[in-house]
């Protein structure tokens, strides 16, 4: 049974469910491989060649090369897995999360210090909050 469709009606959010997980299996497993130092070194030495060792789609590989986290999420990535790419690049979780919002690193940090993003207007798609702008590519597939 699929999740309640309300899970797809939250703006600026991709819920990682069994379907996304199936789509993103090799993308996420590639990310897991970066937990090992020798794999990080091989990836950094030749990203394309390393990605080609994995049964990922071309779109997924390109999203990794572009470091486009929103796109990776849309293609089945999960943020805890994708964070291994960020760790390989020396990025903090705040830098990674912030990079998905279209805000500068400083603006995002300032927003958090001031109490974070407001919930009002950001509960449902179609409200007037600041998380309502569409994803760059609605490749969610449903």
């Amino acid at each position: 049974m699929a999740l309640d469709k309300e899970f797809n009606e939250i703006p600026g959010t991709i819920v990682f469910d069994a379907e996304q997980s199936r789509k993103g299996y090799w993308l996420n497993q590639f990310c897991m491989s970066l937990m090992k130092a020798e794999n990080r070194a091989r990836f950094k030495a030749n990203e394309r060649a390393y990605l080609d060792e994995w049964k990922m789609t071309e779109e997924q590989k390109q999203a990794v090369l572009d470091r486009d986290l929103n796109r990776m999420m849309a293609l089945g990535g999960n943020i805890y897995f994708l964070s291994k790419i960020g760790a390989t690049d020396g990025k903090s979780f705040q830098q990674m999360a912030g990079s998905m919002t279209g805000m500068s690193e400083q603006d995002y940090r300032d927003m958090m210090v001031k109490g974070g993003r407001k919930i009002d207007g950001n509960r449902r798609i179609g409200e007037d909050g600041d998380a309502q702008r569409p994803q760059k590519d609605p490749a969610k597939g449903r």
């Binding site: 999740l3 600026g12 210090v113």
Partner: protein, 286 residues
Amino acid sequence: MARITASVYTSHIPAVGAAFDLGKTKEDYWKPVFAGYDFDKQWVKTHKPDVIFLVYNDHATAFSLQMIPTFAIMTGPEFNPADEGYGARPVPKVIGDPELASYIASAVIQQDFDLTMVNEIDVDHGLTVPLSCVFGEVKEWPAKIIPFAVNVVQHPVPSGARCLALGRAIGKAIMSYPEDINVHIWGTGGMSHQLQGPRAGLINREWDNAFLDRLIDDPKGLSQMPNIDYVREAGSEGIELVMWLIARGAMADVVAGGPKPKVAHRFYHVPASNTAVGHLILENAA
């Protein structure tokens, strides 16, 4: 017989662990976060547990997509802090309690919860950051720890009602264990946070505080809240809060109709990195 004397609830933010490990706890940004745990240092000495049953989630550290157990109890003798990509945290290794853990696993499975038993696993920030927050810097953790991992990464994740009922089953199991030991049960994760997409950075202070109120006073009512409400109101990663209901379910009022627990400590702060920090200590009546 074993006694459950207290439950502890806390966020388990990785940046808090990093701040702790890098000696930044007195910096302006981090000081108010760590101040929320000052109370714990004395409290945990006067309420010293023999064993902590610690509910957390693995963050794609030990469990990849190869296997995704919904509920996993760690029955091994010891667990090392994991390397999550930044090097392992320089904190003591976790000493388990295989006898009690196996006992709980058997008793809980016989109450119709299908637990996965895990003997070898590295534990990530979800488990070690709460220990650092409560105990501070120590050479060894002053209690045995039974890690208990919940899948809150891949939906569907267990409901609040299921978590509360599981906590109740764990509570019953512990209270039937024929050794005179003091057990704490900890629920970790949350509070509101979203780490992904254009809605990243979401914080919902009002909702978080209402969650704390209801967790204290009305756990059964709170357990009826559907998972969609956590995701919508507290962010995609705020769903971790369902794990707090496991700890709450093991308290005397839920397990056996006993008296309501006493609130020993309550703390809330925004932000730590992307996240709202929440912390609560509840004591069962002696």
